[in-house]
Symmetry: C2
Subunit: 717 residues, 2 copies
């Protein structure tokens, strides 16, 4: 029993605030002034929850109580009158139970005392099953499921309850204004996100605001993806899309933020305004990871990637900021991985994982997409590996079980997954035909890895029955995987099997995933490098989404120089096209406004898409070469690779520290403030280290244990 | 395709408004000024739903749109700007889709046009799974689950959306005021329910209001079950329990209604008021059923039963009005049955069934009580039998399946149910020891009937796989039932079996249910009458709840005269004790304030409890003798029985009509405005009928087909 927590936090039922906030955020999507919610089940919070804590006080203590919702307080089973803001707890051992009901926002509690404070040590349940029989005897509640209360660093003040959370804003000003046709085109200089602000607004009539990620989009009032319309009536102003009216004051800020670089504004003659600016809306984050090198283009790619990540790191990790503004599991797992090399914002990772999972019963795949369900599983173990946060696995594990039950309930007679009606088999946006029917090798590879993830996580939560169950399921599928899809004449995994017959098509997806999941023999691994990955006759990948994995697979095979060239060509290509953030899709052969179109719409493409920022991850993990070996960087590995650069330097954040690395062709400098691990590198001659014992592995490969906070300098050749 | 509905209704997702309103109502329970929500999972509405309708217009039509929530409108797949209050639909065939998001209250829609109106013909889903791929092609949504939109007669005006629903109120005045100790005791003359109103209130200080169903309770300020406290501060008044402050005006009405007959009011010297009255809060219902007879005590019992039913028929059928104010499945099924003989308020039956079921996943029995889960199943088929409303079965069937899955997931190796941790095995409040361990015969009987109900309902929804499944499960259990529990030496079903061994105790419960479910042989049926039902050494039933079934079992065996005596003794006994509504529990041997105590609390007993009103049902079904034979009274049976009365007359409502009956020792008069069926009666000599052909059955039993609206008069002896 320990109630001497240092500081209070708002607490809630795990996942509930996350789901509620997700609804608020996802529902800010609009399409040409229409509200645009998502097409999968929108879950919600438990409307009634009970928080409880056993406390032990040497002296009586007054506690302050703040609650989002209607509530009651039970002290040692006795209900207290009303909904008090303060009560005094007598000395001694007590049970404190607080039940909160809230339909509109998640039930949340804040308790502040000298020693008794609401925090993650409180228990919470949505169903206490505590009834009293005729004689006054209470029921046996030993089967009641209690979770640890959820908290967040954002909610440590009594005055800022969870439902009031808002991102930060700061004023930003246009860099260019230009009269065009009947209106004014305003350029904010780069892709941005926020609320348009009209200064000195007055009169009667309409104001139309057309947003664009490109000038073409903003000026195309018939087809731009987002727009706003205001109606002024002398004294009042109405946001016509939202049906919100207010008194007309000098400065008007729109209610819904939008993503854009350009806005095109037209107005009726009876309306006037003096100026337009914006409030940039953003999540304050710390840039804990960084990268610089001898190649300015690559430095630029890092900077644009960093900015793309910042724009898409909001209440949650979202896909693109203009159109969807939604959380998508396949997009999110890449954001998480980039995040570990940039912000190391664990709160937002967890929050996004909770939201993507939602509540039971499971009625569809994550975002309805089969592959996205599998990425959801994979992302959880990734999170554990980078952060070492086993408590989160414990909390989310029941929802992993029910999600996997859903998947297992939809397997075919071979124990494999196929797209059933209602399932979206996504794989990738591809520039050519890709079959989605039957058993896709890509989906089975991800399914197999998901089962292995379940086995790993069931082990972490000490659920032995599940360990046995999932290990068996994983090894059964694993045994079938390669024999089913490997085609010896093609030296590759085929794309799919239909009615028991291998189909002709080869795609990159399953081959690259099978490669870095180590599902292939070393021979096969080498074979697919030439038969698939470096084979131009196999359909090219044109999304940064799958380029992420493609380049990762090549890095994992030691093709750093090839990947460096690709990064400069592909991401450098976008920058040469004027990108200030990275795109949803990029085909280097497209010209002009072709770059803007997608989904059959002229400006359908997102020009700021999280999955565009993958160089962040590749540079951190494969060039700086830093990654965790044991959970939370208790052990790490550093295998730096210049990939043709003259020098590079950078920092990779760890849960409570960082690893700094500098490398040129003769020197490597490492400082690690947390964990320990081997620095592994190649040197033609015997290297020298400022500290520690250098070990020669095979041939010209050396390693050095890095342990301690001091900088270690290695001279090599 | 039919969009020419006569009048618009607010529509919502089936069950969602019901669950939301249930939370509002259940959460008005208080215990001595503390908020007191229930201990089982509180479900909530789907926060995002899509309403849709295919329409076919010969001419363009303007529709008015009202929505509870943020919404969008798609016409033929094209999103419309903003959230318009009116749009014009062009002539032709169209798809109209409206998506509504609302966290706080259920998404609801009202469309009013010349021919296009929102009604039950609209479809609704919480997950349309309609995504658009890269090429702009929409997904295959053939697996999307659409329900028929829910409506209610209460919501036919655009200005009264579902979330604004309130019960009716009317002023009521005290019949007696008396200074007692430091306060005033006010008597409203009978049990009632409403909001206390203070007239001419002013000053500074506190006002305390103590409620009582008895004067003892109101005057016992330390132990009365409910109370309120107001704090006046010259210009403002605060409801201390709810933390609600408002400006102090002359007349103040409390925010939360309470049940009471008496209130005891004390106040600080600085506060003054001129008078106290109340606003009686009630559901407007039509008294469609009635009963009068030659026995004034029985007429009184009917009147008090009727009033008890009215007080407990509110937003939902609740148990008791003072304490719980909750919906309980075992209580509710009795309310439904009484309701069919009194109000025939089908809306409130359906609403209560939806609320009691809640949402998936199922995490406990109904109200956590195993027996109450079974009554929930039984109540659905009852509802169908009385109303003929097969559409409701169709809508609720998926939740019946998942509820039964929960039960089947908790059976033991014998396929029987036992109380597991977290399950409340209730049976009855008994005045003596009753074992709740192992396999209770009572629970298996209800379980078996529930499986039979599933088979019947799966047949109604044409689910052939389920028919086979549930018929098999039911017949398997049925085959074990009597062999497991029948004890030939005791000539009765024993109460339970523990570790495979029949236990000694005999209770009335399983014996009476097995009797009217026809699970016993005719011989066994006769045997239990003497060995159990009329055997005083078997623990007596002291709740009107189980008396309901006990007396029903006796009526079913033809013991009308015995039951009549019992009704007069038991319910007449409560009236002689001063009851103005019937009680939760009544033990005739209790004295004075013993009648008020329960749950270890001096005023814990509810003196207005729905299950107290069972004479309504017994008199309608077994004395007037009217009940449906085919669903919805398409065919009925009338088997009147005076049970010792000189004469009786009454009306039993049917879905769209009524059956009136008068009977004395020589005449029977019947008028049925709906359906047809046999009047069956006993006559010593050959009877005469004003219409139709009398058939002589065996001995002195006769029957006559009643078909048509005219009164039929039978003379008999």
């Amino acid at each position: 029993m320990n109630n001497t927590s240092s500081s209070p936090n708002w607490i809630w039922y795990p996942g509930d605030y996350e789901i509620w906030l997700g609804n608020e955020m996802n529902n800010r999507r609009t399409e040409r002034g229409a509200f645009f919610p998502h097409f999968w089940k929108m879950d919600s919070h438990y409307v009634l929850v009970e928080f409880s804590k056993k406390i032990d006080l040497s002296v009586a203590e007054e506690i302050e109580i703040a609650v989002e919702g209607k509530f009651n307080i039970k002290l040692d089973g006795k209900l207290q009158f009303g909904m008090p803001k303060k009560i005094t707890l007598p000395a001694g051992t007590h049970n404190l139970n607080i039940k909160v009901w809230n339909q509109a926002t998640p039930p949340a509690l804040f308790i502040k005392g000298k020693t008794v404070n609401s925090d993650a040590s409180w228990k919470v349940t949505y169903e206490d099953k505590e009834w009293i029989d005729e004689s006054g005897k209470a029921s046996d509640t030993s089967a009641t499921i209690y979770m640890d209360a959820a908290t967040s660093d954002s909610f440590i003040s009594i005055d800022t309850p969870p439902s009031k959370f808002k991102l930060a804003t700061q004023p930003l000003y246009a860099v260019k204004r230009e009269k065009m046709n009947e209106g004014v085109l305003i350029d904010f200089g780069k892709e941005t996100f926020g609320f348009i602000k009209l200064h000195g607004l007055k009169g009667t009539g309409k104001v139309n605001i057309y947003y664009g990620e490109s000038p073409e989009e903003a000026l195309d009032i018939k087809y731009c993806e987002t727009l706003d319309q205001l109606t002024l009536n002398g004294s009042t102003i109405t946001d016509d899309a939202l049906n919100i009216s207010s008194e007309l004051t000098e400065n008007y800020v729109l209610a819904n933020s939008k993503a854009f670089r350009y806005v095109y504004i037209t107005k009726d003659a009876g309306v006037n305004y003096a100026d337009i600016s914006m409030l940039y809306e953003y999540k304050p984050v710390q840039y804990r990871g960084n990268f610089r090198c001898s190649d300015e283009e690559l430095n630029n790619i890092w900077k644009v990637g960093e900015y793309t990540m910042h724009l898409t790191t909001r209440e949650f990790f979202i896909d693109g900021i203009k159109r969807d503004r939604w959380t998508w599991s396949g997009d999110a797992i890449q954001s998480y991985l980039m995040n570990y090399y940039l912000f190391f914002d664990s709160e937002t990772v967890k929050r996004t994982i909770w939201l993507l999972r939602g509540k039971d019963p499971v009625t569809s795949h994550s975002n309805t997409i089969m592959d996205y369900t599998f990425y959801w599983f994979l992302s959880i173990y990734d999170y554990y590996k980078f952060t070492g946060d086993a408590h989160f696995i414990q909390q989310i594990y029941p929802r992993m079980q029910s999600m996997m039950d859903y998947v297992l309930g939809r397997t075919n007679a071979n124990g494999m997954v196929e797209g059933l009606t209602g399932d979206w088999v996504f794989v990738d946006w591809a520039d050519g035909y890709m079959d989605k029917k039957g058993e896709l090798s890509y989906e089975q590879v991800l399914f197999c890895k998901s089962l292995e993830t379940m086995a790993l996580c069931s082990n972490l939560v000490n659920n032995e029955i599940d360990v046995t169950k999932y290990e068996k399921l994983a090894s059964d599928l694993r045994a079938k995987l390669i024999p089913t899809f490997w085609n010896e004449s093609k030296k590759a995994l085929v794309h799919n099997r239909l009615n028991g017959v291998q189909q002709e098509q080869i795609t990159r997806y399953s081959n690259m995933f099978a490669s870095f999941f180590n599902y292939l023999t070393p021979d096969q691994q080498q074979q697919i490098k030439t038969s698939v990955l470096l084979n131009d006759s196999v359909m090219k990948i044109s999304t940064p989404y799958m380029r992420f994995y493609e380049l990762e697979a090549l890095c994992a095979m030691g093709e750093h120089i090839t990947v460096m060239k690709e990064m400069k060509a592909y991401w450098g290509g976008m920058i040469r096209e004027g990108a200030t953030s990275f795109w949803e899709k990029y085909n280097p052969t497209d010209k002009g406004t072709q770059h803007l179109a997608m989904y059959g719409r002229p400006y359908g493409k997102s020009l700021c898409h999280a999955w565009g920022a993958s160089p962040i991850y590749l540079l951190g993990k494969y060039y700086l070469g830093i990654q965790p070996v044991k959970a939370g960087y208790a052990e790490f590995s550093i295998t730096p690779n210049l990939g043709g650069l003259k020098w590079m330097e950078g920092t990779v954040p760890t849960p409570n520290g960082e690893i700094k690395l500098y490398m040129d062709t003769k020197t490597i400098k490492v400082t690690a403030t947390e964990g320990k691990g081997f620095l592994t590198f190649v040197s033609k001659s015997k290297p020298m280290a400022s500290k520690g014992v250098l070990e020669n592995l095979d041939n010209d490969k050396y390693r050095l244990m890095i342990d301690g906070n001091e900088e270690v300098v290695v001279n090599y050749e």
